[in-house]
């Protein structure tokens, strides 16, 4: 495995223009089968695997991505867009959390962009990405131009605040409540950020990686099958 291109990534991006996004390491895994703190009898104890997501893509991005990104940069100024990732023919803009509402407003209102339909937000938890543990991922659809775009905003676990975009996309009301419920991301400015799927008095945020799946052993004719999150797994 080379340092620059982990073997779990495709050799070229799926955008098809032979760009290799510089991988962004988010985690390191060791060993195999989830063996922890005991003698390694599997023989895989020395295994190291880097978990890396596709990293920043250099310009030009290809297709309509350049025009839209340049237009947005012109509207919101430098710095709001932290990073642009083009992967598998999908455009992802990493946005600074303090600029999110302004970015969304321009994406919705500008005629050349016009992302009028928000498909909601969901969270992703990367516990080993220091100070960027919690990601909120927004998917927008421009019906006018027939395009899709993804916005990704990160916040540290210690300060899990992201501004709410309900003022721009009222559709995100329940989606933000769900993301708060499952990940504990606090959407500042949301009209009523309460739990939506879990009971009101539920402790913890179940979709986070540090929250166990739970479950009990199942016994059948003397053999015991452990719950899925404690079974042998492949790192």
């Amino acid at each position: 495995m080379s340092d620059t291109q982990p073997e779990n990534l495709p050799a070229t991006s799926a955008a098809g223009d032979a760009q290799t996004p510089a991988a962004e390491v988010v985690d390191q895994r060791e060993g195999m089968f989830g063996v922890r703190g005991t003698g390694d009898t599997s023989g895989f104890g020395g295994l190291r695997r880097q978990v890396a997501l596709p990293g920043s893509t250099p310009k030009p991005y290809g297709s309509w991505f350049d025009g839209a990104t340049d237009r947005l940069e012109g509207l919101v100024g430098d710095g709001a867009i932290e990073k642009v990732v083009v992967d598998r023919n999908e455009l992802t803009l990493h946005i600074k959390r303090e600029d999110l509402v302004e970015v969304c407003r321009h994406l919705r209102d500008d005629e050349a962009l016009r992302f009028e339909f928000c498909s909601g937000v969901s969270g992703v938890h990367y516990p080993n990405e220091t100070d960027r543990e919690l990601h909120a991922v927004y998917h927008l659809l421009s019906i006018t131009h027939n395009r899709r775009i993804r916005l990704e905003v990160s916040c540290p676990d210690a300060d899990p605040h992201i501004p709410s975009v309900v003022s721009v996309y009222p559709a995100n009301d329940w989606h933000e409540r769900e993301t708060w419920d499952f990940f504990g991301i606090i959407f500042d400015g949301h009209p009523a950020l309460t739990r939506i799927q879990m009971p009101d008095d539920w402790p913890g945020h179940p979709q986070r990686k540090d929250y166990p799946l739970g479950g009990i052993d199942v016994e059948y004719k003397g053999a015991v099958i452990p719950p899925p999150d404690t079974r042998r797994s492949y790192n």
Binding site: P6, N8, L9, P10, A14, A23, V26, D27, R49, V51, A52, L53, P54, D87, R88, E90, T92, E116, F117, C118, S119, G120, S122, V124, H125, V137, H139, L141, I143, N146, R148, R150, Y169, P170, A171, N172, D173, W174, H175, E178, R195, I196, Q197, M198, P199, P206, Q207, L213, P228, D229, S233, Y234, N235
Partner: protein
């Protein structure tokens, strides 16, 4: 009035006296209201109520018969499907997500499978026959789902014949599902790389019989309902939501098309080869429950047109593959029915147990570990019977999804309940909610 009434306890709050009525003894409530009773009543409709399409709780603030404020309480059917999928292999994920929106299981499977295929970069390697079978099953599923929407919606306003004939036709559709996939619902049939099995012998004849049956019986719904004065009086101008409201609230599917806007991902962002089929996107211009009914009704005819085209194509595709050629991806899904009615074919067992050690190793690795999917994320959306069903998948390069999220159209569309119901009568709430056609399995996941 006694304060220990077991059926109508009272407590004083900052907003006045609150009665919690659990049944039977209304006398004590009436007596407790005093000389100048406040008209405002907050009623919980559901979560166990036959008219709310599953375990949906509607919190209604009533002034007489008029709803002044309405809110939804959801989460009663949350089963942690997304979390569970993070602990199973990529192929096993299909078995979980098919159970979300239980009235349109094929769409859940297709959205997930298309997202996995995009992550794998094999979108253009899916065999043609697999795509045709996916379209066939999805359109049959659209018919069966719309039939339930119309049948239960009819039942709730007292049109019981609509319900009985609706479930009669749905049963025909489910019989086809059973013939093709082996199950009436929760099929786990569309899988990453293709579909689980080829069409069984005789399936095409059954599909053609079904098309004949439906062509004969689908017009019955129009005859029963379209000009029915009671039906129209209950549905027209009820649950009004115009295009601007739909866009702001992220509403998709029949509610948008009932505003006269032909928003349909099958046309605008085709997948599975939808661009090669001849069909129309029906619209209506009334933005109300009646319009949504008419859109669904017409959509079933369009779906039947697509099913017919699929049958014609499948007739020319006998023996073609239905799973991607890459055995690493295809194997976990490729099963054949053995003498015990399930599992791997005897030929395969003979091959791995008696002929090839290598084959046994590969079989073992693929069954226990599954295949790896390159790191990255993908979002695939398709047009389910209820609107935009999106699947957001994140892979860390492992054998399991790092994160699976579904943007279920029922969840998004249900946000429109308050705006459609406030100011209307209690009885209109039932009609308005039914016109959104929410499925709680999809809302709560």
């Amino acid at each position: 009035m006694t304060t220990t009434d077991p059926y109508a306890t009272t407590r004083d709050t900052t907003e006045g006296k609150v009665f919690t009525v659990t049944g039977q003894d209304w006398d004590s409530v009436v007596a407790g209201l005093g000389d100048e009773p406040e008209e405002r009543v907050v009623v919980n409709m559901g979560p166990q109520h036959p008219s709310t399409h599953g375990v949906l709780r509607l919190i209604l603030e009533l002034e007489g018969e008029t709803v002044t404020e309405a809110r939804c309480g959801i989460g009663y059917l949350h089963t942690g499907i997304e979390k569970n999928m993070e602990f199973r292999s990529w192929v096993q994920g299909v078995t979980f997500c098919t159970r979300m929106d239980y009235l349109s299981p094929f769409y859940n499977e297709a959205a997930y499978s298309l997202a996995v295929e995009r992550l794998l970069g094999i979108e253009d390697q899916i065999p043609e026959k697999a795509n045709v079978m996916r379209v066939l099953l999805m359109e049959l599923n659209r018919i069966s789902s719309h039939l339930v929407a119309i049948a239960t919606g009819g039942m709730e306003i007292g049109a019981l014949t609509v319900m009985t004939i609706g479930f009669r036709e749905r049963e025909m559709t489910l019989d086809l599902f059973e013939l093709i996939t082996g199950l009436r619902m929760n099929h786990a049939f569309i899988r990453p790389g293709g579909v689980a099995q080829d069409l069984p012998p005789g399936a095409l004849d059954k599909i053609r019989e079904y098309i004949t049956w439906m062509n004969k019986h689908l017009p019955e719904y129009a005859e029963l309902c379209n000009a029915n004065p009671i039906f129209k009086a209950r549905l027209q101008n009820v649950g009004y939501l115009d295009l601007a409201g739909c866009m702001a609230l992220g509403i998709s599917g029949p509610p948008v098309r009932s505003t006269g806007y032909a928003l349909d991902l099958r046309k605008s962002q085709p997948y599975c080869g939808y661009e090669t089929y001849d069909f129309d996107v029906p619209t209506w211009d009334s933005s109300d429950s009646y319009g949504r009914f008419r859109v669904r009704l017409q959509e079933m005819h369009e779906s039947l047109k697509i099913v017919e085209q699929c049958a014609d194509r499948l007739a020319k595709m006998e023996g073609e593959p239905v799973m991607v050629a890459d055995k690493k991806i295809g194997w976990p899904s490729q099963l054949a029915v053995g003498t015990d009615g399930m599992g791997n074919s005897l030929d395969h067992i003979k091959h791995i147990m008696g002929e090839s050690m290598e084959a046994l190793i590969h079989h073992f690795k693929l069954v226990t570990e599954g295949f790896r999917v390159p790191a990255g994320q993908a979002y695939v959306a398709l047009e389910s019977p209820r609107g935009e069903l999106g699947c957001h998948l994140v892979s860390d390069g492992g054998t399991k999804p790092y994160r699976a999220h579904f943007r279920d159209p029922s969840f998004a569309n249900l946000q429109a309940m308050p705006i459609m119901c406030e100011g209307a009568q209690v009885a209109d709430v039932i009609v308005a909610v039914a016109s959104l056609d929410p499925v709680m399995g999809g809302v709560d996941r």
